[in-house]
């Protein structure tokens, strides 16, 4: 197990280098950050050249990349154009998004798995069909539609939830944005659980559990669910990374100053240190979430033992 973890961690290095270089390349090579600093006005060539030299921008791209990576590993993510250090932005943004993600994942897990179990056990009946149609509708609606719609209905029309989140980001105000963020994944989790349950419910070991005289709830939770959740856990694990980075739309709708919000601002203003820094961290989160899923596999399914 320990060796497996180490091997996986080592495998993450090339992935990390490759993906960060790609981001670096796209952001730095496709736009002139110095021009962006000056906004609408054309910069004075001498000043621009000096800034380039100071910011290491006159070096070839690979050198710039190495320099950047070196700085990152010393904890220096650079300074945004407004003078705020990127680290500072991260410290304020990541905890906010993390909370939002946790709320979303909990909603997705609880509601998705419960709906999936119910429809899976009643495959082909009324509940199952309505759940299937509902998930199809949810999957087809883009977040900016469902987000604004729910914000309007719950936040404005009925006043059940705050339409926008206050700077302290209390958990209760995150419920609605969390739901919006979770919605599409929720539909996937429901469908995945449903399929898995419906498949496993006819399995021989479930029949054995019934023949042992176990009560129905025990057959379902201990025998059926445990086996059926393996693919669901994989999905949720990889989804954590996607949710953290994919909260851009949701965070904008509900005015949450998290990762998505900062990224959006960064891209809008061509604020390259912010964009590259944030995405680098997101890559790391994604990689670690994947590793966690693989390790969880071994816990859930003893047939998968890592040498």
């Amino acid at each position: 197990m320990g060796r497996y973890v180490i091997r996986r961690l080592l495998q993450m290095i090339p992935v990390f280098i490759g993906s960060t270089f790609l981001i670096f390349f796209m952001v730095y090579a496709l736009g002139d950050p110095v021009a962006a600093m000056f906004g609408e006005r054309a910069p004075d060539p001498a000043t621009a050249a000096q800034i380039r030299r100071e910011l290491y921008l006159d070096a070839p791209l690979w050198k710039q990349y190495l320099h950047y990576m070196g700085q990152i590993f010393q904890g220096n993510f650079g300074t945004a154009f407004n003078g705020q250090s990127v680290i500072e932005l991260m410290v304020s943004a990541f905890p906010v998004t993390l909370r939002l993600t946790v709320v979303a994942v909990v909603i997705e897990m609880v509601v998705g798995v419960v709906l999936g179990v119910f429809s899976g056990l009643r495959r082909g009946r009324g509940i199952d069909t309505s759940v299937l149609v509902l998930t199809l509708v949810v999957v087809s609606i883009p977040t900016f539609v469902s987000g604004y719609l729910l914000q309007f209905l719950f936040g404005v029309q009925w006043g059940w939830a705050a339409p926008s989140v206050s700077p302290e980001v209390p958990l209760n105000e995150l419920l609605l944005p969390g739901l919006v963020l979770a919605l599409v994944s929720l539909a996937y989790v429901t469908r995945l659980t449903r399929t898995s349950i419906a498949e496993n419910v006819r399995a021989d070991y479930v029949r054995t559990a019934v023949a042992k005289g176990l009560p129905r709830h025990r057959v379902i939770t201990r025998h059926l669910l445990r086996n059926s959740l393996i693919p669901v856990v994989t999905f949720i694990g990889t989804d954590i990374g996607a949710l953290m980075g994919g909260a851009i739309v949701t965070e904008r709708i509900f005015n949450i100053h998290g990762v998505g919000y900062q990224l959006y601002q960064g891209i809008l203003r061509q604020n390259s240190p912010t964009v590259v820094g944030f995405v680098t961290i997101l890559v790391l989160v994604f990689l670690l979430a994947n590793l966690l899923v693989d390790l969880l596999y071994a816990v859930l399914d003893p047939r998968i033992r890592y040498a």
Binding site: A203, R207, A211, K212, P302, R303
Partner: protein, 346 residues
């Protein structure tokens, strides 16, 4: 079918003669309602088993032998399976009149089942100790620790080496024979009165088959349980069974004490089965096979369901379904020409 005649086997049959049967299945009917139509998987099956007795139910796949057992256990997949008639009297009570919860308490505790493929029938993600111990936790409410200790005892009882070390292992870590022993241990856990073994040795190597069968027979004698042994293997049956019921297309076509059936079958289908066994003294000759295929259960032939495959078929067989004729003491046959068959066999 009555047991006026005590079988000559030393299996305690004589003591069981006077007792009412442990399990008495009467005119059981099960249908599978599928898109292709209604399949009458079990069509008026009756059999009974006494304590300490072994009933072998013999038949090809699709003959309804497993479905009957599932109905007795109350683990029929429903839908598509539906019980449409009959009684299942177990220890004097008709199980079909019991409430779901009462039925559940009997399952596993009073009657237990052993399945064919132990690898797929054991839960892959739970340790065998947990799966064995669960029986005690659920039915007797013992603590987890106590349940584990009893699981070890069970494993020792079915002769699994190093039981204490292996109680935390998972099914895939055991060999096929050991896995089937665990299934047997699970069935034995609560000291049931009846065990239904559905092809318990089919998935095993031949050498292991004998060991597992011997173990099962030994435990059954020791605990004087009733045993229903479902199989398509005539070789397995001969050594352990007291009575044989042969099933075809959802019906019982012949019932007989084991040795009489081997000596002189009273139904052409049984005869065909016996003739299909390869014999060493007839080496070089072509093997006998019953011609044709078992019928599709959504469209069973009229008259005797076996008539399209029967070597003795006559006009009456195509129109009139044969009743179960009383052929001798404890013997029945569903063949219009049972006499000829019986005589022909002698």
């Amino acid at each position: 079918m009555t047991h006026q005649e005590a079988a000559p086997e030393p299996t305690g049959t004589a003591a069981a003669v006077a007792e009412p049967p442990l399990l008495d299945v009467r005119d059981l009917r099960v249908e599978f309602r599928t898109r292709d139509g209604v399949a009458k998987a079990v069509n008026g099956v009756s059999y009974h088993v006494a304590r300490g007795q072994t009933l072998a139910v013999l038949g090809e796949s699709g003959s309804g032998k497993s479905v009957t057992a599932q109905a007795v256990m109350g683990i029929l997949d429903s839908p598509p399976g539906f019980l449409t008639g009959g009684e299942i009297v177990f220890q004097g009570r008709d199980l079909l009149t019991l409430r779901r919860e009462e039925r559940r308490r009997i399952r596993g505790a009073k009657m237990a089942m052993i399945f064919q493929d132990a690898l797929s029938s054991l839960n892959p993600v739970l340790s065998v100790g947990a799966q064995l111990g669960e029986m005690f936790q659920v039915h007797e409410g013992v603590s987890r620790k106590e349940a584990r200790a009893r699981a070890v005892e069970l494993m020792e009882r079915v002769k699994i080496p190093a039981a204490r070390e292996r109680v935390g292992d998972y099914p895939h870590q055991f060999s096929g024979g050991m896995r089937q022993r665990i299934m047997i241990a699970m069935a034995l856990a609560l000291g049931p009165d009846l065990i239904i073994a559905d092809e318990p040795t089919t998935a095993l190597d031949v050498t292991v088959q004998a060991q597992v069968m011997d173990l099962l027979a030994e435990l059954q004698r020791e605990l004087t349980m009733g045993l229903i042994l479902i199989t398509h293997d005539l070789g397995v049956v001969a050594d352990v069974a007291d009575t044989i019921a042969v099933m075809y297309a959802g019906r019982i076509v012949e019932t007989a004490p084991v040795h009489q059936l081997y000596k002189a079958p009273a139904h052409p289908y049984t005869r065909g089965l016996l003739d299909s066994i390869p014999r060493l003294d007839q080496k070089g000759r072509q093997l006998y096979a019953i011609k044709g295929m078992p019928p599709n259960l959504t469209a069973v032939p009229p008259g005797c369901p076996f008539h399209p495959r029967c070597p003795l078929v006559r006009d009456v067989c195509r129109t009139d379904p044969p009743p179960l004729y009383e052929v001798g003491p404890g013997r029945t046959s569903a063949c219009h020409f049972w006499k000829e068959t019986l005589d022909g066999a002698r």
